[in-house]
Symmetry: D2
């Protein structure tokens, strides 16, 4: 994991509670079983236990699940930087699949690299974890619009 | 839906059965409930009924599900063009979210635009369907490696 | 070339003159020698004569020139849809290099596929032209922010 | 600039001379005036002095020049990792424009993040430099095919 290049200030005291509620308010996130593992201004780590129904035909994590991990970690990292009157919506993202999605569990580390007035840019590092050893399996690059 | 720019020839007689089996062999695709709606050399249409657990907090289809529709439709469209000795793997993709994911059901139309020796390039048009009217909600652009 | 999926209305009578002036006001576009070949609401075609200093080591058009063709054709296609009080700026783009950049000249066809309030989405088809035969060499996919 | 996550070994003793020759063999790179500022296994830094004809209408570096900086820095970073019998070709890339392209000169730092057998993945950080202060203006994300 690369260290964040940018340090951000929280928009208010309530940002953490607000973004945690947003994360868990998504039924699809519950269906997959994703959980927040860490949160701060401009960053979010989230975790997912591996299980067969999240996989493709070879037993690797499906690219759609990897995309969901990227979207949630990077997207919510950008959501931590807007006040209660604003929202961030994913406008587009690129996912690069570097290695097969293998691991007992997966951790996605989302980092906002720019918080603009109209757009935020965020990236995600997605790791497969086996015996507490992390291996980078994918990268995600998001553009978010602030509404 | 835009007409395919390229017409392809099937690699052999068995391509359709082979790619249908590949599609349904993915547990995550079953979890979502995706189904093939049409298939031919270089193209695949797939369908998904909407239901609450595929949604985000506002009742729109989650971006991760949209990414899965793009990956499956475009990815399997490229898989129809390789023989039984080869496989296609998603290397990277871009998803553009054009409108909120609203619809009774969704249809994703995957079209291969280039079948190379090492890489194939495929695109997807993802529509929300309400009262049989289709509305474009997202676009997907994939690079696949042939192994 | 695929037919436009969407038809747009011009924002006013002056859009064509305004976007032509914008196109030719860019010194880098002059350095390359790019010219407008056709323009309308939501679309722009532009042309470029091939010459050695636009090429890479094998005599193919350099990927940076292809990216410029994509950015200009798709970007200005989106600029035709905003009034004189607004601007469109490229926020991000993806370029796919389908075939070697070969041709006596190149034509890039930019088409806006969505004109939103905050963002526009546009695509480009880039062709190499030899003996008046067009061959698709690249695709471009842009996100533009309206300011 | 983020530290490289991966350390690579050079493929042979000649990699540096070979990739420098490749860089300077491209006429378009000469037209722009790009120069190598540093090179090692899996990485390349390159520089470009700003001048009016590389700009768009507002005096900012044109997005096509930024794309060229991204393509060259990340692409040649991947080329340092293949032997004399192989080549790397850009298959696709995404460019994110974070801030206006302002600077006396620009430096692009390309880093390969994965060297595979068929594909390499590389990223670029593009900075505008004024009074020796670097400001990140863009990011680039490349997929390269090894032939």
């Amino acid at each position: 994991m690369q260290a964040p290049e940018v340090e951000f200030t929280a928009p208010d005291d309530g940002y953490q509670k607000r973004t945690e509620e947003l994360f868990y308010a998504m039924p699809f996130v519950k269906l997959l079983g994703m959980k927040i593992a860490g949160i701060g201004p401009g960053w979010l780590d989230c975790e997912l236990s591996n299980r067969p129904e999240l996989q493709q035909q070879n037993g690797f994590l499906h690219a759609g699940v990897i995309a969901t991990l990227a979207d949630m970690s990077a997207g919510i990292s950008a959501a931590t930087l807007v006040g209660p009157e604003s929202n961030t919506l994913s406008a587009e993202f690129k996912i690069v699949l570097l290695r097969p999605g293998i691991g007992e569990r997966f951790i996605a580390r989302g980092r906002t690299i720019k918080r603009g007035r109209k757009l935020s840019i965020a990236e995600s590092w997605i790791y497969g974890v086996t015996n507490d050893k992390e291996k980078l399996v994918a990268r995600g690059y998001l553009t978010l619009v602030i509404v």
